[in-house]
Each structure stands twice: as C-alpha cells, then as structure tokens.
C-alpha cells in the first residue's frame, strides 16, 4: 500500500516516517514540507540517515493524494480543515493528526479552539482513532482522527471506571505532565532549552483543549455528562506523558471490582499494560518506561482514607499519543495485524 505524510517535518511527522519506513505492508511514497522542500528527509530527521533517501516535496495536498492510497495529515490545527475538503474528494483514506476532526459537536470548536468549523458535515465522517474503544468503527472507517496525546492517555486510564459507573463524575481531576516535544517543533521562548529545562511549569492549569475530547469520550461511555478538571504541566523531559487521574469512588469499591473493570475493558489489548507491583522501582506507570514504544501503561491505587481512586496512565506522546496510535488505526482500517510496525520494547535505562 502506498502511503504518504502531508506535513512531515514536525515531530509527529518524523515519527510517522520512521514507523512507516519499517512497516512491512507499506511503501512510503511521499513526505511533504513547504519549508524543507527538496531537502533529504534525514537532514530534518537525522535518526533516519541510512534508512531512506526520500526528499521532502511541496506538492499540493490533493495532488499528493494521487501518489498514495492513504495519507496522514500532520499539519497544525486550523490548517487541516483547509486542506481536508479537497483531500476527501480525492477518494483516498485519511488519518488526520490535528484536532480539527476530533470533536463531534461543531460548536465545541468555537468554545475550545476559537474558530467556526468550516466543514462541520465532515466531523461525523471521522472516527476518533482509539482502537481500544472504537475498533469496530475504525475497521469500517475511511477517515480517522487521531486523538490528542494527553486526551488519549487520560481517556484510556479513566474509561474502565466511567464505563462501569464506579466514580463520581463531578470530581474527576486530571493532572497531566508532559515533555517538550508535545509543544511542537517551532522554536519559541517557552521551548528554549535554558527556559524549559528543569521546569515544572503549570502552563495550562485550567481550560486545556484536550479537556473537551476527554469529556466527549467519557460522556459517551458513561451515557451521561462527565465533567473533567484538567491541569497540564510541562516537565523536564522530551517525550512522555503521565496523567495522574484523581477520582472519588461512588461507593466503597473492592480491589477486585476495580481490577475487573480494567481487565474486562482491556482484555487482550496489545498495547495496554497494567503496572501495579508490590516491589521494584517501577511499581506504577512512568513515561520513562514507555518512551519509544506504543504502550499505554496503566496502574491505580486506592486511598481508603478518602475514598479516592488514583489512576496513573503513561504514554509516549509522539507514539501512543500520536504517530503510534495513528499507525495502529491504519492497521485496523486495512485489516493488517494491529501490531505491525509497532511492537517493540522501549530501551532502558534511557
């Protein structure tokens, strides 16, 4: 299958290229970048030196589609909506990495993203690409919208509890910590190493846009209105997310009940691992252990004194939080083995 990446010079684009180059069912035929047109891909993504002689091109996205059976659109929020109508006309499969097709309510784009969605009819044609929750839909989809990195990390941690009606949905606190690659490739003062190194920067204590996505998905699972209180922090690493989800149990729930909720939701999932050990250094999920892999590690602990249930969920924001889950969705869409190109352990220590 011929696959291309539109907007391939960013961090997510680079990871898509890396995975697709190693994917046994895929031929990577296209990587577009206006800024780097004609440059070798490996100059922008130096880790790919020796793996590809592909060059960036600056072709029109819809033309680009002529060379591909499926494209990943990895362009900024607000840009994707501009190129999508024409791309859709071209008849190829599309996996969009931006936020532009994640929310199903057009009004939500005005509330959370500050723009009026220009092609709201397309919103319902895109399936949110979380295979663990929407595998059957993805199988049939032509268009998939990859979830936000902190959104999917938090959703996967909370879904079993909400689905099984175990927690108070008015007091869900998501305290997220993320590495610097999450802010994208563009250099700014806030991404300057001297300013970004060593921070625990609460860059979005309230109002983070991923909240909308988390509430949308959890409300669907709960069949009720779920409220999420999210705060996002930048910490001193390049990759990785830890979502610490503080929840309060509706009634006293036993440990086996909680385990059952998690196990029944994620039975046989190839990219979910449960981490809750009595000994060892890594008794709970930690981004350090998933960086470089497509895993979402999930663990939890009960605070009996207060009826609190803390769920911990860790991903690599560029993989399970972006390029990895997108390729996983592609595998599902195409009927491939879902783990193709994605089944590897992180390196440790790193």
């Amino acid at each position: 299958m011929k696959v291309g990446v539109i907007g391939a010079s960013g961090f997510v684009g680079g990871e898509l290229l890396r995975i697709l180059i190693g994917h046994p069912k895929v031929e990577l035929t296209l990587a577009t970048s206006r800024q780097h047109a004609d440059d070798y891909v490996y100059r922008v993504h130096p880790n790919l030196r020796g793996f590809t002689e592909l060059q960036f091109t600056d072709v029109n996205p819809s033309k680009a589609a002529e060379q591909c059976d499926l494209v990943f659109t990895s362009v900024p929020h607000g840009t994707s909506v501009k190129i999508m109508p024409e791309l859709v006309k071209s008849g190829i499969k599309i996996i969009d990495m931006s936020a532009d097709y994640r929310l199903k309510d057009p009004q939500a784009y005005e509330t959370w993203y500050g723009y009026k969605h220009p092609n709201p009819a397309l919103l319902e044609k895109f399936v949110l690409g979380i295979p663990e929750l929407r595998r059957e839909e993805i199988k049939k989809a032509e268009y998939v919208s990859a979830p936000g990195c902190m959104a999917v990390t938090s959703i996967l941690g909370l879904a079993p509890l909400v689905k099984n009606n175990l927690i108070d949905t008015d007091h869900i606190v998501v305290d997220a910590k993320i590495g610097s690659s999450g802010a994208g490739v563009k250099p700014t003062m806030s991404s300057h190493h001297a300013e970004r190194y060593g921070v625990v920067r609460p860059y979005k204590p309230v109002g983070h846009r991923h909240t909308a996505e988390i509430e949308q998905e959890l409300s669907t699972l709960a069949n009720a209105n779920v409220k999420v209180s999210m705060s996002a922090h930048a910490v001193n690493m390049v990759r990785g997310i830890l979502s610490t989800c503080h929840t309060f149990l509706k009634k006293e729930a036993s440990l086996p009940e909680i385990w059952k909720a998690f196990r029944s939701t994620y039975q046989n999932e190839p990219f979910i691992r449960f981490v809750r050990d009595r000994k060892g250094l890594y008794r709970y999920p930690d981004p350090k252990i998933v960086v470089g892999s497509n895993f979402c590690d999930i663990g939890f602990e009960i605070d009996e004194r207060n009826g609190r249930l803390v769920v911990l969920s860790a991903t690599d924001n560029l993989l399970k939080g972006a390029a990895g889950i997108a390729v996983q969705s592609m595998n599902v869409m195409m009927g491939f083995d879902e783990t193709l190109g994605l089944r590897n352990a992180a390196i440790h220590p790193a």
Copy 2:
C-alpha cells in the same frame, strides 16, 4: 550566637551550613557527622570550598550542645527522637529538621510513621516552624520543628482558602512534584541517575506521610476536619517542589474574594510572592524560579466550568522546604531581622 548542626553531611545539613556561614549574627561552631568525622566540610559540600575550614566531628549530641547556643538537628526520622531527650536537658534551643516532632497527636506516629513515639510529652513543646502561620508562637519557642518540604509548600498554598472557608474540604487534591534531593543523600537504585533521570514517577500515589502534617495544619486553621488527597511524583530535577492543589469552591467565589483571602493572609510576608500574570513565560509559580531562594511562590486559577480553584505553590525543597525556613524560624526565635541570611534572588536561567 554559637550555632551547630547535628547531622551535617546530608543535603539539608549542607544547606544549613551554607546559610549559617553567611549569616551575620551567627558563628558556626559545630558540624557533626559520624561517617565523615575529621573530614573537611568542603569535601562533602564542595560548594563551600573557600568558605570554611571547619571539619566534621563525631561528638555525642548532648556534648555537642556544650559548644552551641542553638542547634539544628538534621538526622533521619526515628533518630531524632532518640537524641532529643538528652539534648533538651542541655538547655539549648533546638530546631529539629526531622518529622519526629511535627505531629501533635502521638497516635499519628503509629499511623503514619509506624513507630510508637518514645517521648510524646515533648511533642507539645515543639512549635511547627512555619513563620507565616505561627510567628508569635515561634517567637516564644525554645524548640521548633521544621515542617516537611511538600507539607509546607502545600499548606502555604491552601491556608488562605481553608481559613476563609472558601473550599470544599472533602475534595482537596494535592498533586506534588519534587526533585531528587528530596529523597535524601543515601544512594539507592531509585536515586541512581540512570533510573531517576527523565522519570515522572508516582512514587507515593496515596499515603504520603506529609498528608498528616497538611491535614493537621489545615484542620487547625479551619477549626474543622480537613481531608487531603495527596499524590507525590518524582520528576527530573534536583531541587524544587510544585504543589498543584486542585480544590472545589464551596460556592461561586469572585476573583477579588480569592485575591483578598491570599493577600490578607500573607500581607507583608517577606518570603511569599504572588505569581499570576497575563503574559510572560512564568505566569504561574514554577520551582525553576525559586530554586536557590527562600521564596514560596503562590498563584491560582479558576476553572469556571467546574467550580474548581487550582492553587499552585512552588518552593526549593531544601530551602523554604527545609534549611531556609528553619533559619527563618531561628531569626524569629532570636528576634533577628527575619530575612537575615536568606534574602537573595534565585539565579536565572539555571
């Protein structure tokens, strides 16, 4: 005044020595360490090279007291209770850095620390050394117990809200992030650079001992039983704490009301700064900006959608969280200018 540090080879001990060496009213006469007896202080604390020719000694604590008017006891939890009775007999002033005299309820030591307190009568003689909340008591105290680093950081952030009855005291979530110096000087697998670097390790998602201290102080301020749900995370830095305190407002509170609670509590406090800006990189507290200083930076944000109030509080765990606040208490005890030896800005960027 002659001052000594018992247990001076650890991280807190080192910071006490550094501050005391530069303190204009103090003569540092003693630094004890069994392990490093007879070594020059600057071999263990290499930053002090050129500042002191003092050597560690291994004298008995009570004998040590003969050389000092005031001592800081900077020994591990469980050790302090052993040396304290004899030290107290010696008649000098004492500032204890351990947890052994922070909690007022002897029973709490069995619950939280797993030991039966051997000299419970001493508990009430120690004042918890948070000048912002107990200045008048400290002025009259002979014995001060320095607060836990994450405890004081969280307490200072939450005190104004609890005192002014603004928040639901059943749903207070404290999500704390701390650097590696917080775990102490002893090398372990969990402090190994290769294992500790790049983590967001939820090392104590429930049951952190500082919870007891936070609940004790907030309950006193509220004159009611306050419940705190705390989770502690290790992040990739050496120093610093950010406490993200997620609270829910009792009723809709206006921004001026909240500001008033903070301002009235901390008016003229020399080591509290409010950080809540509309622009700039550091619009909220961040440990990066307080590391190396004795400040507690406090900010907040309202999540109107959910009635949440997020309070952010940042300190240097070894300074405002330990050695700095202890010297501040000493200044208060002795009637010195409270900022002596402590008034300096952090360096930036670092």
Copy 3:
C-alpha cells in the same frame, strides 16, 4: 539457537535480553542473577514487561551452559576470569562483555587493572569483537571479547587515520563524554541523581583503562607504537558517548584524502554512518542521534590553522558500545545476516 545471558540484571545484561528476545534466530533460554533469582526479568528490566515471562535463575555458570549453545557473560571485570575456565570446558560459544579478555598482553592486566591474569593462555583464544576491524577472525572464533564502550567508539573514529598513516601518533588526544549508564547499575554517591545531574565531571582525566585497548588496536593497525592521551568525562545523560579525537596531521592532507581513508575502511559497513553536513542541526555526530541504535556515527573537521584533524565519533554505550556490538559479533560468528535484531533507527527527538 539457544542463548543465555550470565549476569543479566545489569544495564548491559538488560539490553542483551531485549535484543535477544527480538532476534529471529535465537531462543533466549537463560538469564542468571544471584541477587534477583526467581524474580521475573521484567521487574528488573521494566521495559520488557509483556515481552517475556522469563525469570532470573541462580544456577552455576557452567551448569547454565548446558541449556545454551552460546552464552554472553555479562559479569564485572575480575569475575569473568573466575568463571571462564569452567565455561570454556563446557564447549559452548562465549561472548564476554567484561574487560578480562580484551587485552592480549597478560602484563597489561597488572598495569591497567591491578590484577595478575589467572588464565593468560585464554587471552589469545578470545577475538576482540569489533566486526568492522576483525570480521574474518570473528567468523572463525569460538570466543569473543566485546570491546570497551569508549574504546570501540574511539577506535572506530581513529582507525582509518592510523591505518593510512595520516596522523602524528604521539599527539592523539581522546576527549570522551559519557552518560550515567556507563558506570554500571550499582548505586553509589557518584551515580546519585542529585550529584550526577548537570555535571561535566572529569572523572578520569588520565589513566582511563580503555586507553590500553585503544592503544593495542591502533598499534596493531599502524604496525607501530601508537600513544593515546585520553580523558573521560561524565555528562548529564543516561546513554551515549561522544569521543572527540584531536589529532595532528603528519603532513598537509587534502579533504579527499581523508574522506578516502574513512570510506575505504568502512565501505558497506551496516552500522557506520558518516555525518559531516553543511547544514542542519546535526552536522556532526551526536550521541542523541544514535541512542537506541547500533550505529557508530563518524565525522571530522580540519583545523587548517594548526594542522589539526578533529574526529568525532558517537555511539550508544550500551548498544554499539556493548550489547549491540556483541550481538553483531554473534551474528558474524553464527553466519547470520549481520544486522539481525539490530537494524533500527533511534527515535527522535528524545
């Protein structure tokens, strides 16, 4: 083929396990560890969770050999010499990760390692496992000694120059920078995150043991006595080595001559990449770009003012500097495709 790792709980052992688990021609049958006997491998190497249910065992090395066709011995220097004679008797193939069989002159062990080699006759039976320089010998070898991490990084950078007689062999300066995993898994004060973070620690400005190995190999290539002046620095990362090799040209050498020396030495080498670009961020080798891969990236620059030739060589110390090159040697020994289990790009950025 059945393969085992003796001493599998350290950092190198963990990487051997990870690679061998994913190696298509190998069945991993054994991982020994005295300390962790009966523990699941994934508790010590948490990245392997979900990849293996193997448990550590504490069997006698020679017995262990009964379960394997080939073993990697990944035990400390000085321990390997003790278990080797019996292992050799068992008749299986061996790849030793320690320094105990790298030097060919028994006397060198007294000079550099401070012990008298107890089985010097074995020294000549071990081939130093650098496929780029000794592929034909490795093909025929029963026993391979994996090179030191900083040694092989420096040797690969300098070999083409020495072999082609281009540089003054009395003034070769190797300034090496290495991450914290290079010091091994044992926690010490020097590996404590709080002490190790942010350093540029010249931990061995003279007398580093890898000097012996570099001189041995370069002298062989030069057919003359080559002197190497090495200094080793610990820097703030977990993995990776950069060797900056400052050399002085014997006579004015043109750029094409130097290129020719490198290209002729490493033509078609699967794990050597040349990095010397006019633009881009990564114009020279940088450990950041090889961490997680088996590449040795090599670049150079000429300082015309002083007749200096600076060679830059970067590896992942646990892969091309240890486990990776060892498996590469195994592939060569066994007649497998040399890149099996080893051909992957690093992730970027990370």
Copy 4:
C-alpha cells in the same frame, strides 16, 4: 554610583541586573530593552520579582548615559561597535560585554568575526577585563571589555603554564563543554529543548571565535606565538563551562613545579579555587560546583605515560564568564572591595 545596563533583557543582562541590585555601592538606574520597553524587569527576569520595580526603557544609549556614571553594554557583537563612539563621547565609564573590543588587532575582526572594525582606534582604549591577569590596567581603565566566557575559562587554566614556559605551545588542545545559556536568549531550532536536551553536540569543532582571544592573551603572557586548538561542545545543562585543556609538557616537570606555577599566578585571588583532591566526588573542577558563583575552579593532572598535562577549568558562563567578571572589573575600576556583590557559594546539590 549610578549604574545602567544597556541591552538588559538577555541572559547576561539579567545577571548583571541581579548582581547590581544586590551591590552595596551601586544604584541601578537604568535597564534598556527595545523589545521589552515599559515592561517590568521582573517579567523578563522572573527571579527578580520582589527585588525591583524597575521597568525597561528604550532610550537612546547615549542619552541613557546621562542617567549613569557607568554602563554595561550588553548588546550583540556588531551592535556594540555601532553605539560605542557616541557612548564614549558621553564621558562615562563603560564595560562592554560583547566581543567588539576584546581583540587588539583590527585585522582579527575580519578574520574571526567577518566584519571590518569601524572604530579601530577605540580597541586600544579598552582593557580586557580579566582582573587576575590585568588588575593594574583595569584599575586605571575607563573602558573595559569583558572576556568571552569560554575564552576566560581557558585562559585562566592555561596562563600559569604558558607564563612559566612549561608546555609545548604548538599542541594545546582546548576541549570545551558549555550549557545552553551560552547561545543566548534568542529561540532557534538548535536551542529548542527537544533538540538541545541530551546532546553532546560538537557545534564548533574548529574555528571557534574565542580561539582568537585565547591566543592573544596567551601569546602576550608567553611573549611568543601560542597556537590553540579549540573545539566547543554543547552539553545538557543550562549554565556552566568545563574547559579540558590537553597540553604536553616541554620537559618532564615535577608536580611541585606545576603547583608552583599555579600558586604563584593566583596567590590570594578571591575567585580562583584549586581543586585537586584524592578523595570525594568532586576531585576536579566541575561546572556543577561553580554555577551560581563567580569562581573559576582550576585543577590538573599529569599523564606520565605521554608527558601530557591536563588542566581543568570550570566557570559559570554567565558569571565568571560574563556578568560576574564584569562586576569584578567594575569593583577594581572603582576602587571597591573586589568581591562586593560577588562573594557567595553555589548551592549544592542543584
């Protein structure tokens, strides 16, 4: 004395402000910044919150001089030469932080900086501000040029050897490692945290401009032509420089002879510390121990096998490498105690 900083929004400017605010003999009256005019200083330098209510202004430099007795010009190379003639006319004292007045040979600016110096007559009016080497000149100077950060670090390490004719001046290798603040405040791809974190980036293996300054100063001391072979590396920290100076002894020199060279050169210097211990973690200079202070720590080791003498020299690039040494020069110029505002220990660990 009234002092101002022209170009006060960068990293060096910020450190000048911080030091001057705490300097007992100085009133800070001016901080200029075009970009941040009218902003509070503490918004750009958040560590200064609570220390000053000063605002940036955008006055013409020469006008600015009206408010000051002395100004620090902290503007980029090439800009300083433009504002200097008019500033000089204003009759105030000037300490220039740029490279524009460091080199004495106008031709050197064409060779190393690529521009023809527009006011070469001013070059000889500026004294290079290294008090350890030029104290008497600085005392009498009206104009001082602060040295380059890697230059002064290397010069201080090498001066005693060159002055005492101990080393071969044709084979001096300076291998420098520096933190990200050294590249200045402007965000670029190379300073992006995701790209800069974890690197050992040989960004200037040959041809670094500080080479010119080092050669100028050492040649003056040697009264002969000294050649320096410098390579500069970016490493994963914000502040700090380690210069590893690999030199070759002219003849066998005894340890006491070398000690004598260092001691006689730096006897009683308040900001030079010798670090060469037999035990402890920090047996040699390490930037970690000087960051936040004005010290240059110097150590050395002899490689007897090869006649090599390795000198290690560590500074904080923004302090002893910039703002600190500049204020030290100001103290010397003004007849103040040389250590005013500058005598503090680094914090440790950090």
